[in-house]
């Protein structure tokens, strides 16, 4: 009985050794990529991130010549999926799609993750936040809202998608930039917050355009401005904060990331592959329908952007009292 067990253990040990030798040393000599690449979406299927990943994957795999398999690893606000990539073998076959959500997650809750755990190989899209009010409200322009807010400090109620969530920070950032004070009311996600705005429960909300678009089209919500530097191509009638002389822009963004110890030559292949894939004309059109803007940044620019966003989110969270 005992010897059988020992034999089994020996066999297991040998086979593990075998796998380690061949998968590690064996493949590195070959041309990258030589097997399918796993793209981890740290959320359940169906969210914006998931949809983007699944739109990019088929184009990306044509450029790389190997399948890109989208895998959803949801749970704990994205932490489980993100950590699974940052701790994966840095061989280029494990990739993550992440951005704004990770920035916030670094500072909230019990999860311990840092953006420095990744190499950020390229940004894919960005989605500007809005400043939205109820369609029956007296505020026809962004100036009306700001005037009211300045005269009535602490009166305006803004609905957000969770304390310390991105929409919360977009609202706080905007309020700070124009010098008004808001009361925050917390909902479970941008959807319920948009419904609350449409039913006049709150005065304003600052989610990305996609979250309020259907209600804007059914004339329940008015979008006063985009928190962006340039106008939307699909809704050119919406002014931006910048042209109103307000120096504040915010929005969510996402791109691909790989474990930080991935060799530079492999990262370069993935980086240039992504750049090529994003030139696909169909992709920009699909993104437009999702109310997000295709915006590519290469490894260097994206890394700088992430570092800059990290600081911005950190400061906002500190002001909101979430980091002591």
């Amino acid at each position: 009985m005992k010897s059988k067990l020992r034999k089994g253990m020996l066999g297991m040990f040998l086979s593990v050794l075998f796998i380690l030798i061949f998968s590690g040393a064996g493949f590195s000599a070959e041309k990258f990529p030589s097997k399918p690449i796993t793209l981890v979406v740290p959320w359940a299927p169906g969210g914006r991130t998931d949809v983007v990943a699944r739109l990019v994957a088929p184009v990306y795999e044509k450029v790389l010549g190997q399948p890109v398999v989208v895998v959803n690893k949801a749970g704990a606000s994205g932490y489980i999926g993100m950590k699974s990539v940052s701790t994966a073998r840095p061989d280029g076959y494990n990739m993550l799609i992440a951005g704004g959500g990770l920035m916030v997650l670094q500072y909230t809750g019990e999860s311990k993750i840092r953006w420095e755990e990744f190499k950020w190989i390229g940004q894919i899209y960005e989605a500007a936040a809005t400043v939205s009010v109820n369609a029956d409200s007296p505020w026809k322009t962004i100036e009306d809202l700001i005037d009211y807010g300045r005269k009535n400090p602490g009166k305006l109620k803004h609905g957000n998608s969770g304390h310390g969530g991105t929409t919360h920070l977009f609202s706080e950032g905007f309020a700070k930039a124009v010098g008004i004070k808001l009361i925050q009311v917390v909902y479970k996600g941008d959807g319920p917050a948009a419904v609350a705005l449409a039913s006049n429960e709150v005065d304003l909300s600052c989610p990305p355009l996609g979250a309020v678009r259907p209600l804007m089209e059914s004339k329940k919500i008015r979008v006063l401005a985009l928190q962006s530097d340039k106008r939307s191509t699909q809704f050119p009638g919406i002014p931006t904060l910048k042209e109103k002389g307000i120096d504040w822009s915010a929005g969510t963004f996402e791109g691909f990331a790989i474990p930080k110890d991935t060799p530079d030559d492999i990262a370069a292949i993935l980086e240039s592959g992504l750049e090529k894939a994003l030139k696909d004309p169909g992709l920009a059109e699909s993104f437009r329908k999702l109310d997000i803007t295709l915006e590519h940044k290469n490894l260097k620019d994206f890394t700088a952007h992430v570092a800059q966003q990290d600081k911005k989110y950190h400061d906002l969270l500190q002001e909101a009292g979430l980091i002591k």
């Binding site: 304390h163 959807g191 039913s199």
Partner: protein, 496 residues
């Protein structure tokens, strides 16, 4: 008329019929398996619809959703394990019916009630979707608070035993609901350093533990102690008889209406629908005090309600593009990948999608009935599987199911823990259904109450200024008063 013909032409395309059938089939299976609920199943299968026709894809996903409501009752009745959360209430009378050898009629009535209510809600969906959607927008945080209060009040009426124990279970459920990140300040509460607990104690692991594992443990104990076989020897009939229909008619009718109204409310879900309808049945039934001991109307009412709620839940999505439940959010994504954005323009821009989806539900409900009735004979045979095989299988399904929720062992641990707790609850006659339903209601109550008070600046008057909220609160109060009063009257009668 043209619209109907057009819709039928879409639905009866062979590929759409096929996808409707696949959806119903998967839905039934998902409903039967404990652990995996409609949200998990749809999110697993969502990517398969990203390529191919958007109408077929949505028809399939919708089929899974209402299909689970049919299948969910199966395990509740047969082995006292809710196949998914909306069938928790069905366990109470369903399982007792099975013990009496009436599993067949119970399953049959569940299927018929589901069919009638499902079709009822699709008819309303077809006729009056837009004005109803407008109504849903009047449902704000104070109304949700009132709903949660009503829900918790109704819970007490579910209990057939000690009132004190019922209150205790409801309290424990509400307290468990506090675990997780504080909705207003973002501070983690009672997470003990487990980041997995930040989203709160999941409903599914608790339900699988309290019902699944605990049921197995309790039965194992009985077998070893008394050498008594719990296998139901005699199965009396497979279909409900005329008396069953008479007993259930009112239940099905009120279940359909109550379920539809609650399904319409943003976030009002199938679980609340089934409790409300069950509680109402207990009040209005002539033998109300017996409901809970294995009465067929105790199965018909909640099963009608949870199916009716599924149809109503589509209304806010199709007319405003607002997903009010996680399942609807997934369907929204299914549309968006194809560049279709549900909303007020959907009927005009995508008539084949809008009408095709709605009419596929008529067909789907018929398919489900046809699919489920012959299966009853098969399911009843499940009761004859030797326990040596059935029990390990149930435990396996529960543990694997809880692991797949979040790919984490914390959920598995929770399931095992609540299995043990559930075993002792059974021994000391505490009702697990109450705990689970309170766990659903607690977070709704907390969030919406705190939100209402933020909105009003801490002033409770907000509840008096809102007619809907006020009337729901008054109804809850009446219910609460009526319990001791009816008990007293019954006691007097018994004495006299």
């Amino acid at each position: 008329m043209d619209t109907i013909l057009f819709a039928l032409s879409v639905v009866f395309r062979p590929e759409n019929l096929l996808f409707a059938f696949i959806g119903c089939l998967i839905g039934t299976l998902v409903g039967v398996l404990p652990g995996i609920g409609p949200t998990a199943a749809i999110s697993l299968l969502l990517p398969t619809t990203f390529r191919g026709d958007v109408v077929s894809g949505l028809i399939m996903l919708a089929g899974i959703f209402y299909g689970t409501q049919y299948g969910g009752s199966t395990t509740s009745i047969l082995v006292n394990i809710p196949g998914e959360a909306a069938s928790v209430v069905t366990c109470i009378d369903g399982y007792k019916l099975a013990l009496k050898g009436r599993a067949g009629p119970a399953l049959g009535m569940a299927a018929f009630a589901s069919y009638i209510a499902g079709t009822f809600s699709v008819v309303l969906l077809t006729l009056v979707a837009p004005p109803l959607a407008e109504m849903a927008l009047h449902f704000g945080s104070p109304e949700f608070t009132a709903m949660a209060v009503l829900g918790l009040t109704l819970l007490i009426s579910l209990s057939s035993g000690s009132m004190v124990k019922a209150f205790m279970m409801a309290a424990v459920g509400v307290i468990l609901g506090v675990v997780g990140v504080d909705p207003t300040t973002g501070a983690p509460r009672f997470t003990f350093g487990f980041y997995e607990l930040e989203d709160g104690v999941g409903l599914a692991p608790v339900a699988m533990g309290l019902f699944g594992i605990a049921e197995v443990l309790a039965n194992v104990e009985k077998i070893t102690q008394e050498q008594r076989s719990i296998v139901i020897e005699k199965v009396k009939g497979l279909l409900p008889n005329l008396q069953d229909w008479k007993d259930s008619a009112v239940a099905i009718a009120q279940g359909s209406v109550v379920g539809f109204l609650i399904g319409l409310v943003p976030g009002g879900n199938t679980i609340i629908a089934s409790i409300s309808s069950y509680a109402l049945q207990k009040r209005i039934s002539k033998r109300g005090d017996k409901v809970g001991t294995g009465m067929i109307e105790g199965v018909a009412a909640p099963e009608a309600a949870n199916n009716s709620a599924t149809g109503a839940a589509f209304i806010p999505l199709l007319t405003f593009g607002i997903p009010t439940t996680p399942v609807m959010a997934l369907l929204l994504a299914g549309c968006m990948v194809h560049g279709v954005i549900p909303g007020p323009l959907l009927i005009k821009e995508q008539p084949s999608l809008f009408w095709g989806l709605i009419f596929s539900m008529y067909v789907g409900n018929i398919m489900l009935l046809v699919l489920n009735l012959p299966l009853i004979g098969l399911w009843v045979k499940v009761l004859r599987i030797p326990y040596g095989i059935l029990f390990p299988l149930i435990i396996l399904f529960c543990l694997v199911g809880s692991y797949t929720l979040n790919n984490s062992l914390v959920e598995v641990g929770l399931t095992a823990f609540f299995g043990l707790v559930g075993f002792f609850m059974r021994k000391f006659e505490y009702e697990p259904a109450l705990l689970i339903l309170a766990l659903v209601m607690g977070p709704i109550l907390e969030e919406s109450l705190r939100r209402s008070l933020t909105l009003s600046g801490g002033n409770l008057e907000i509840f008096f200024h809102r007619p809907i909220a006020m009337s729901i609160l008054l109804i809850s109060l009446l219910f609460l008063i009526s319990f001791p009063v009816t008990r007293m009257i019954r006691k007097r009668k018994a004495e006299a």
